[in-house]
Structures are given as C-alpha cells and as structure tokens.
Symmetry: D2
Subunit: 340 residues, 4 copies
C-alpha cells in the first residue's frame, strides 16, 4: 500500500524520536517546567525573532483551538471564521462546548477575505440589534487552509488590520504551519509574530508524535493560562513529552527542512496528476492536493493507494485528497505514478 491519506500516518521524525530516547532516563520537572520545554520555548522565540513571545505546548489541534479560543474570549464572545474553517466543522463542537459561538463567513477557496470580515464588522457595530447577538471577539484562520490554499502576506495583513480596527483578537491555526511556511513566498515566523495575536506551530502533522506550540506574540497570554490549560484537560504531567519533541524540531532548522521536503514532494505529485490529465479541484501550493478522479478509477486506485474521499464532484467523479508529509519518499511518488 502507498500512503497519501494524511500527514499523520507516520511515527515521529527520526531526530525527534532519537531525542526522546536520549533524554528518557533523565529526571525532570513536571507540567512543562522541565529544561527541555524551557529550551524549546527559547528556540521557538528565537526562530520567531520575538522576545515578547510566550510559548505553550499542547497536544493536538482541536485541543489547542478550544483552549486558546476559550482562554482569550469572554464568555459571551464568539469567534469568526469561514464555513470551511476546521473549528466550524471538524472539531465535534469543541469550541461550543466551552460556550462560544462560531460565526462562519463565506470562504473563498478556504480563505477568509478581509473585505468580507470588514463588511460583517461594519454591519455589526452599526446595527441596532446586535447587543442581542453573541459578540465577535476573535478571528480565526488556518495557515495553510483546510483546502491547502495559502494566504499571501498582504491578505493576512489586511485581516490583521480589520481585527485591530474592531478590537478583535486574531488567531492563526497552524496545524500545518511548517508546510505553509515552506510553500509561502512572503510569510515567515517573525513576520507572523508582527501580524497576529496568537498562532500555533503544528507538531503532530510535521514530525512529532503529538504537540502544538502556541505562540502569544506580544506578552498577551491570558491570565492564569496554565489553569485554563488544566481546566481543558490539556496539561501533560510529563510536559517533557512535547518539550523534547519541539526541542528537536527547532534544532538545526529541522522543522522547516522537513516541511520543505513535503512541499517538494507535493509539487512533484501535483505535476504528476496534471500530466496524467487529472483536473485539480483546487490549485493548492501546499502538501494537500485535491484532484477530481472518475469514480471507476477511484475503485481501482484505492486497492493500491491510500487517499481520502473528500466528497462527490458530480455523479461520475469524486474529489480526492492526496497528502504528502516529511515522510513521503520519491519511491512513494514513483509507485503512485504507476498506479495512476
């Protein structure tokens, strides 16, 4: 079987698992006060070139979204996103479980347009009845988006401006941050730190066994965030588990290097699909590729290749998702080529 199903079918990157092994016998502080967590936080702050950053490690994406959103919002506040936003759909109502409404604006290939956000907020602050509504308190976007697309620096800066104009927190879901950074031509971690309030650097999909590094960008971590994490069931007793992994990922530029490999593989994959005559469902520059495949072909293909049925394209064709990762090999692509 050849795997293009997701970017979390593999274990950890070898350098990550080795670091876990190397440090395993040490006795450390608990709850994230161990030296590896501390070092990893420093390395991330350096990679962000942001001394004012405050870094916390959580375990997975949904947990991180729910904890950060609940931590930054007042009880009566809602988070604004797009209809394709991960928190809108695929998180089992985890944001609502903390009492917060998710307001979903129309997406444009997975992206939120600053102009749509501004129009919504203009209406909100001018309409007479909006004290009867959940109050927008935060904007959430994903970089890259759930459809593999990427915001340009200008697009994010524009959203950031709207957020500042209306006093909204701006939060960027970076479950696939590495792949976004590797594919982007104008966005870096230091740039991001200047253009949002909080984001996270996904580990689970980029070489770790688990772990997301939340970065508050300007000393703006919510008061008692440690307690908030615990209240969400998200505090690891052995915080070293995530600390050690991020310590490895942020040594020798590992995080970006393995992300770039995934993007190289994705671009080869995309070229291959186009050469084989398949229609791209969306033009994605990142490690998720969406392609239209005839239903009959899907049936034969999935005997050899593991990929995701995204949904029907029309009666005869299906939208399929192929995902590369740091672990994808040339051999995988060659095998896929044969199978296509």
């Amino acid at each position: 079987m050849i795997y293009f199903e997701s970017d979390y079918n593999n274990g950890a990157h070898p350098m990550v698992i080795e670091h876990l092994v190397r440090t395993n016998d040490e006795i450390t502080q608990t709850y994230g006060f161990d030296s590896y967590s501390q070092t990893a936080k420093e390395k991330i702050k350096q990679a962000c070139n942001c001394p004012d950053a405050q870094v916390f490690f959580l375990t997975g994406g949904t947990q991180t979204n729910a904890t950060v959103i609940d931590g930054m919002l007042q009880s009566y506040e809602a988070v604004v996103t797009v209809e394709t936003g991960h928190i809108s759909i695929h998180e089992a109502g985890a944001v609502e479980a903390s009492g917060h409404k998710v307001i979903a604006l129309k997406d444009h290939d997975g992206k939120l347009l600053a102009a749509d956000l501004r129009a919504y907020m203009d209406w909100f602050v001018n309409d007479e009845s909006t004290e009867h509504l959940a109050q927008p308190g935060m904007v959430y976007i994903s970089f890259p988006t759930e459809l593999g697309t990427l915001y340009s620096a200008n697009e994010i800066a524009d959203i950031h401006q709207v957020c500042q104009d209306f006093g909204l927190h701006f939060f960027i879901d970076g479950a696939r941050m590495g792949y976004g950074l590797a594919a982007s031509t104008d966005i870096t971690l230091p740039w991001l730190c200047q253009h949002c309030d909080v984001f996270y650097i996904g580990g689970t999909k980029v070489g770790a066994l688990c772990g997301e590094a939340v970065v508050f960008t300007h000393q703006n971590v919510p008061k008692h965030f440690f307690t908030i994490i615990k209240r969400h069931g998200a505090l690891l007793a052995k915080g070293r588990l995530t600390g050690v992994q991020f310590d490895a990922l942020f040594s020798d530029n590992l995080y970006l290097r393995i992300s770039r490999h995934a993007i190289d593989m994705a671009m080869r994959l995309k070229e291959m699909l186009k050469n084989k005559g398949y229609q791209l469902y969306i033009d994605s520059p990142t490690n998720q590729q969406f392609v239209v495949i005839p239903n009959k072909k899907v049936k034969t293909l999935e005997k050899k290749v593991c990929f995701t049925h995204w949904g029907p394209y029309d009666q005869d064709n299906m939208i399929c998702r192929f995902v590369t990762s740091w672990a994808t090999t040339d051999a995988d692509l060659d095998a896929l080529k044969k199978a296509l």
Copy 2:
C-alpha cells in the same frame, strides 16, 4: 407616535391582566404546582386534542429555546436550523452557552426545506468523517418564521418525516404561534401535535406580559425537566404568573381570537402598502410585514411611526419591518395610512 415596531410594546390583553388581578389575593402552591397552572395545562391539552401532551410554562423565547434544546439533546449533539433561525443569530449564543452547536442550513424565505435537510442528513450518515463532527440531534424551525413566512402542512410533514427517518427530535419555535395559526389554512394545534416532538405557544407576543407554553407532544418530556428548568434559571417561584395568564389565554378561545385580529390588521396593512406603491420585500401572510422604503421616506416616516430598520435593501432603499399585534387598532392603521 404610531407603533408598528413589535408585538411586545403593549402590556397584557385586558382579559389577561384582569385574571391576574382577580386571582391575586389567593394563596397558591409555588413553582407551577398552583391550580391555575394546572388548569391552564389542561386547557392547552384540550386545545391540542392531545391527552398525551405534557405542558410546561417558561418566561420568554430565548429561555425556552435554550432550555428545551439543552433538555432534549445529549451533550455532543447539535441542533439543525436555517441561517435566519432565531437561535442562529438573535439569541446571544444561548444555545452554545449550554455547549450545543447550531448547524445552519440555507433558508428559503426563512424556511427550512425538507429536501435540504434530507440531503444534509444523507451526507452526514454516509460520510466517513462525521464521527469528528457534532452529531445532529434535533431540527428547529419557527412557525411563523423570523421573516413572517409560513410553512404549509405538507412542508412541515415532510420535515417531520425526515426527522423520523434519521432519529432527530423535531422542535417548533412558536413565539408567534397564534399569528401563525390564525394565518394558516391547514395547520392547527392538534395537527401540530401529530407532526412534531415539541413546540411552544408564545404568550409574550400574543397577549401575555410574559410566558411561553412548551408542549411535549407524546409523553416525551425529558427526565427531570423540572430540574433542567431550574438549572437554566427559568423556574418561577410564583409559577402562577404564567399559569394564570395562560389560563386566561386559553379560555373562550381568546388566544386564537386575538391572533386573528392581528392577522386582519396585518392584511389591511399589507394592502395599504401595496396600494401606496411600496415593494414588499417578502410576501408574508402573518403579522410581520417587510417592505422596501426609500431612505428619505424612512427619515420622514419615523418621525410619526415607530417601525424597525431591518437592513439596507440597496444604497437608496431600506427594508423596514411593520408588525401588528392583538393590540393594533383601525385607528393605528388609519394614522399610518396618512403618514405613508
């Protein structure tokens, strides 16, 4: 000033306030166990021709929606409605405050189409990933809708069928139930009891000072619903307050009689607007009329008439809402006619 702003600008209907006065000196049981609450419940069951009905009184619409939805859903379940649904927008996130996601499908002039619901549920039960989503557990519609439109009996029966096919509770918000029944040609309380799991009969907008009568239609009240009401801060110590009012409203057919008057007034209003050359924004058979008025005219009109700015129609025109109620008089309409 002439008032067409809402159907809750007035006090109680004279018969309702009189009943409150008449019973005021009596000593009664508390928490809804008083004789007036009991009698009112019996009268409602009779009006519904539904011996299996279970009736509870709550204070207002948002409270009723939040309490019923939370009472009937499991923690991980969501409620499905349309984008214009009151719970989608105008309830300050009260449903989400209890942890439940509101899933909003496209509306058609404020209505949910059974076909849309079926398509959504077909997708939901067949898609591989939906265990990662909030689970739809209930369908919520409003009768009449937030845009004044009305479902036909067939339309509701079709939605009911989808709910039964997929094991969803079916809940009808009747904040303006009286006006809906008075305007409908084919829907009655007994018919409703056969075609949904729970609905409520709005009092606040139809002659009471406060109060909504929730009707569970087939002995299906959630276990410990009394405790659930209390937990939602919705239990009146002097339950007689709502009991007495509904006792009056369901005596001598008062509820339907005053509702019909409001519909008569609304139809005269609608005719008047059309005769004056105004474009209806929506063709509403009920007590809410939406009409397009030039911005300039709005400015002069609102010096004499109180109505609601619903939103901009285009740059030069505004959608305005005019509402009649049991208290609207011919004199009000005559005065409006002059002002238009």
Copy 3:
C-alpha cells in the same frame, strides 16, 4: 389552611398589582428601556444614595445568581460561599452550568466568617499547587442567610476587607433583602453599596410577582451585561413587567414598610413558639423561623397549617420552618396559636 410555608405563596402586593393595571394600556419600549424601568432604577439608586450604582432587573433568584456570577467571573474562576449557601445546594447546579466551581467553606449558622475566608485565601495564595485549582474570583453570601440569620455590619465589612485584600468580587444575594434590612440594626442600602461590589434586592419574596433588582455599586457592571443577560435566557421582552413592579416597590418606601410588617409578624411568631415551649433550632431575627417539633405534633399540625419540613432533628423530632411575609396577618398568627 393557614400558610407559613414560604414568602412566595401570595400574589403581588396590592400596590404592585395596581401599578401593573394602571400602566397596562401604555405602549412602551421593550427589553427594559421603558420609562418605568428607568424610573425604578433611579428610585433604587436614590434609596441606595449611590449615584454610581448601575441597576438591572432579572426575574428570579437562581437566574440572578447564575447570571451575575457568570458575568463577573472569568471562565476559570470559582465562587466561594458556605456549605449552606443557596448556590451550593438549591440551584440545581446553575452556577456549574456556566462552568464555574462553587467552593463551599464551613458555615456558622448559615454565615461565612471573614476569618475562615482569610485563612482559605492565605492558604490559596501561598500554596505551590494552586495553579492546578479553580481560581477563587468572587465571594457570595446571602443577606439574610438561608437559615434566617443576619450578618452584622462589622461581619460584612470584615468579609469585604478580605475580598479587597485578595482581589475578589463580593456579591450579596438579597432574595430576602427587605426582610434583612427590616431586621438589621446597622445595615442599610447605602451602607451595603459601600461594602460590596454587587447585590440584589429581591422582589419575588417581597411583594412582587417576580423580579430581582441587581445593583452594581461602583460603575462596575461587566461589559456587555445586556448580552450576558440575554445569553442566560434572562432578558424579558416586556421589561416593563419588572420595571413597573419595582417602580411601585420603591415608591413611598413601600418595600421597607412591607418588609417591616413581615418582621413584626415573625417576632410575634417566634415569641408564640417560645411561649408554647418549642425549642428554636436557630435564633433567627428575620422572617424565617426554624423550630423543633415532635414528629407526632407535626402530623396533627400540618392538617391545619402549611409549613416546611426542613429535616429530621433526631428520631422523634423534626426541624420545621415557618415563614412570614408582607402578606401575613394577625389573623394568621391567631389561628396558628390555636393550632399549636
């Protein structure tokens, strides 16, 4: 039957119901923006001699507690009270329903001791592990307490001091505020305004059909409290219902006058019980009297008198609660005297 069961068996005080009738035909603004609500708020601010006060009307006690506590606390904060506190027990978990823990310290005849609170907070701020705990954010007491007892001015001032020392909000549940004020020798509304952050003036148990007036004492109402009220299902469309009632209660000193009557009746009742040789379970200066009655006597007495079984005192005796109110008459007491 003679009623000493509770202080909410009656309808409204005659002056209150008359005011509802007198104003019933007027057309008013909705959601508490009517002139009666505005006037009532001004009257309450004057009675409090507190121009910085901000007043809101809610419907009942549990609703008020849940809304105020949730409105003032951050998500991760808890409210500290005593084991007999109403929010600890008799509110069906309404505070927890908004995600807040109730921390219950030992009570002393229903009262919280400032010294106990200080000891708890001293421990809390010094213990190493308390970032793992819900963070105390508010202190809640009842005046009078659930056992009918009263705090002295000194006792409340001491609690207030602890709250200020540790940055805790201080909230006083005044479901029976009138009876407390009438019985107290040293506490008045203006004094209360100087010694807590927020309290409420109970209407439901003191002459209204429903309604509690929340007083934030120093321009400290939580941001978007209107939205918070709506989110809790606690916003009345016809806000006039509570506004008109409090307008009556705070005219001509009605609220305090009728409260004093209840205390006079309670003191006669207490004397009567002592003269008959019954043991008081607690020495209460307010309108709730707790007395120990032999089980056999309970059985015969409850054929003529309605009162509450509070719980077993020992195998042969029961603690019974007798409650007076603004509506209790000399005739009621005479009849009880005969029955005892």
Copy 4:
C-alpha cells in the same frame, strides 16, 4: 538530588520507549484505529478477563476524568465523591467546565464510606425539595486514593451495591491503578470489572510518557464516545502514541511487575521513616508516603531531596509527601537514608 517528588518525574519505562522506537517507522491508521491500539485493547481485556469490556485511550488523568464523567452524565447530573477527591480540588474545575456539579462527602483517610453514600442517597430520594438540586448520577472514587490509602474489596463492593440500589454509575479513577493493584491483597483487574461501571488504568504515573486506558466494564460505553472524546480535545491524531505504550505495558505482565517494584520501594521507605522516628501522617500501603517532619529538618532535607510540601501539620511541623515509582532504585533509598 534524590527524587521522591512524584511518580512522573521520569521518562518512560525502557520497554515502553523501546516499543515506540521499534514501531516508529511503520505507517498506521490514525485516531486509535492502528493495530497497536487494537492489540493493546485486546491485551487489556484479557488482563481484565472481561470480553465485554470496551477500552479507550486518553492522555492524562484530568482529561480522562472530565471526559468520562461528562460522557456518562446527563447535563443536569452531578458526580458524588469525597472532599479529598482529585476532581473536587486539583482539576481546575474541569468537571464543572462541562457543567456538572461535584458533590463532596466527608472522606475517611481519603476514602468514601459506603454508609455515608447510602445515607446521602437515602436523604436525597426522600427529601421533598431535591428536584431543585443537581441530580446525583455517578459516584467517583480513586484507587488508590489521593492520600495513598486503599479500599478493600469489601469496601468497594459495598459502594458498588449502593450505586446499583440508586441507579448511579460507578467510576474508579486509577491514575495509580498499578500501585493500587500491587499493594492490594484482594483486588484484581477482573474483580474490578465485576464491581464498577468504568475505571481507568493509569499509564502516565506507571511507566508511560502519557496515557490512561479507560475500561467500560459491560458494553456500556456512552453512545458516540469517540465524538465525545474529540469534543473534549482529547483525541490523538496519532493514536498509536498511547496504543503502542499500552501494548508494551500489557506485555509480559510489565505493568504489574513495575508497579510491584514501586510498592517494594515504598515499603522500604516507610520502614526507614518509622525507624528514623518520624510520625506517619497516614498509614499508606501504596507508593505515596505522608510523613510529619519538623520545619527545620524540611529546610535542610530539601537541599538534597526533592519531595512535596503537603501542608502544615502544626506550627513546627510539616506534612511531607514522598513518592516512589517504577523508577525508584535501591540507591535512591540509600541516599535518602543518609539524608534523613
């Protein structure tokens, strides 16, 4: 430094980390559908001798408690425990965050007495007012308790009987299950499966980097528990992380073997403390030992030994906690002996 601070200062047991390394290069299913998770579940069911068991892996103790409790309770239900229960205090209000009250009965050296529970429930079902209270839906105990004490089989069976008599779920927190089983003379996993509804087998404190195995004992897993886990932010994308670790822990009886070692070390420690003349604060048969140490001695001791200040014993003495684990060595004990 010698570490007796907690049982989670170390990394994973060598066999556990080795299994993670050995399996790291494999491509597996996600979200717990990998073969290692499946195998681990089978091994646990076999260790429990319980074919009807249903096993789920979560990450940590607070997360597990919050998820299981919320999953099994209705919204209006509370969980009953003791005042020293972990969920009562040390979980930052995580149970309340899902809307559930924690009802805390008096503990007896950390244990819940069946008689106390029965008395509480007898009162609850007979009292007239309890529909106004959060409804007890579950009993939670810890094995071993937070104070290191152990229930006997009879004590647990008695609690189980009360739960069955009153229709309460019975949940056992096994964060230190291995140490409890190793220290107990009459309780085994198969026995536990017959005497509660759900329990968990702690991995984090017994050899894993993270992970708790929840065991529903009689095909009683809540509907959509997968969705419930996701909604709590507790679903690992790489479920293999916990699956592989439990696969190792339940091979060759590793879990019990390493637990027994910790108990052996704890008994040596206890003997040593007693021989040195220290007073035990509590007589614990498990890996947590509580001892009274003069404040002065604490100051000198903590320069060499890491342990926990549990709280003041009196003005001059402190209660200190020493914890052994699978990783404690004879050398650690020898070094401690010198330092004492």
